[in-house]
């Protein structure tokens, strides 16, 4: 098989994922696009490993080993990423990246979490006012 076929497909998939990361607004869709980019890299690794394992005399099969590591790390990454997205959604009420401008929760004047934090730090009087 011509080596350009998997290489070109990998490049195209990577650029598709690049477009998705840049253009999407939902955080989970951005994570999907990151998965696309990782898969493009995996395809490249596998193709070059198969090529090298036939042309070179001795090989460590490093491409396939690295592909397995990439898949495992991508699984870990998607777990952590989804946990972060869910935590952000629980705090801010949105998973929209364009609306997540602040890195801090405390100085958000109209965020849903700021008054909860303020009520948590103060006493019983504010708690009665907050639940009313």
């Amino acid at each position: 098989m011509h080596l350009a076929y998997p290489a070109v497909l990998s490049a195209l998939l990577f650029c598709t994922g690049l477009y998705g990361v840049l253009a999407r607004r939902n955080a989970i869709l951005v994570l999907m696009s990151v998965e696309l980019m990782l898969n493009a890299v995996n395809l490249n690794l596998v193709a070059f490993d198969v090529w090298l394992s036939k042309t070179a005399e001795e090989t460590l099969h490093s491409g396939q080993a690295l592909t397995l590591f990439t898949i495992a790390i991508a699984a870990a990454e998607i777990g952590i990423g989804l946990a972060i997205v869910l935590a952000v959604h629980r705090n801010r009420g949105t998973a929209d990246i364009d609306k997540l401008r602040d890195t801090s929760e405390l100085h958000d004047p109209d965020g849903p979490d700021s008054d909860a934090l303020a009520a948590e730090q103060s006493g019983e009087a504010q708690k009665a006012e907050a639940t009313a």
Partner: protein
């Protein structure tokens, strides 16, 4: 054989031998199958990043990842193909669908799925694709993968290389997966539960425990609305 002699061997023999046995305009059956599956994969990837229905994006991602598994099979990397099916199609997409459901993604068309800078993103992506494809095609014009003989990515070869040469990274990766598991649990449990257990552990703070535990569902409800 050292790397230099291998490279010299490659440069001496590969282009002439390849040009003798392969042709540009006479693709083999494997190449045709690779091209067709690659078109399906690329089209599904395009739909994944452009559709306005969020759940459909996850389902088209299944098509993309499955197509990539077929490409791995065509490249004789069978173990990678099954790992791809098990981990990506089996668990990652399910996790993404769970994430879409838990963040209350709208069913149906959502008009604001794409942000305002999509034309800049399209420009960057098309420019990167053109540059990458040009460089790759120019670099590997005369390079062929030899798919005959024993499979390069059979389970036996992959397992032997993984457990002979890659044992230490493999074990380190298991520690990383454990750390990711613990991190995901810590991130996704509610912070109020941690505050409540901290208040329980100190008996002096027991009086403050009741307003916190009452406040928990309220802020939760407010956060998700």
């Amino acid at each position: 054989m050292t790397l230099a002699t291998t490279a010299a061997h490659l440069t001496a023999h590969a282009p002439t031998a390849a040009a003798e046995t392969h042709g540009f305009l006479s693709p083999t059956g494997v190449e045709i199958a690779f091209l067709l599956v690659g078109l399906v994969t690329f089209g599904a990837a395009i739909v994944t990043v452009t559709t306005r229905q969020l759940v459909h994006a996850a389902l088209w991602l299944v098509v993309t990842l499955g197509g990539l598994a077929v490409e791995y099979l065509l490249l004789t990397a069978e173990f990678i193909a099954w790992v791809q099916v098990l981990i990506y199609v089996g668990s990652v997409v399910v996790l993404l669908l769970f994430g879409l459901m838990l963040t209350r993604a709208p069913i149906g068309r959502s008009p604001d799925a794409d942000s305002g800078n999509r034309w800049a993103a399209l420009t960057v992506a098309v420019a990167a694709a053109a540059a990458l494809v040009w460089v790759v095609v120019d670099a590997f014009r005369t390079t062929w993968i030899d798919l005959d003989g024993p499979a390069a990515g059979s389970t036996e070869a992959t397992g032997a290389s993984l457990f002979q040469n890659w044992v230490l990274p493999f074990e380190a990766l298991s520690v990383l997966l454990l750390a990711a598991l613990v991190g995901a649990i810590v991130l996704s449990r509610k912070a109020k539960a941690g505050a409540a257990t901290a208040a329980e552990s100190t008996p002096a703070a027991r009086s403050e425990k009741s307003p916190r535990s009452e406040k928990g569902p309220r802020s939760e409800k407010e956060g998700t609305s």
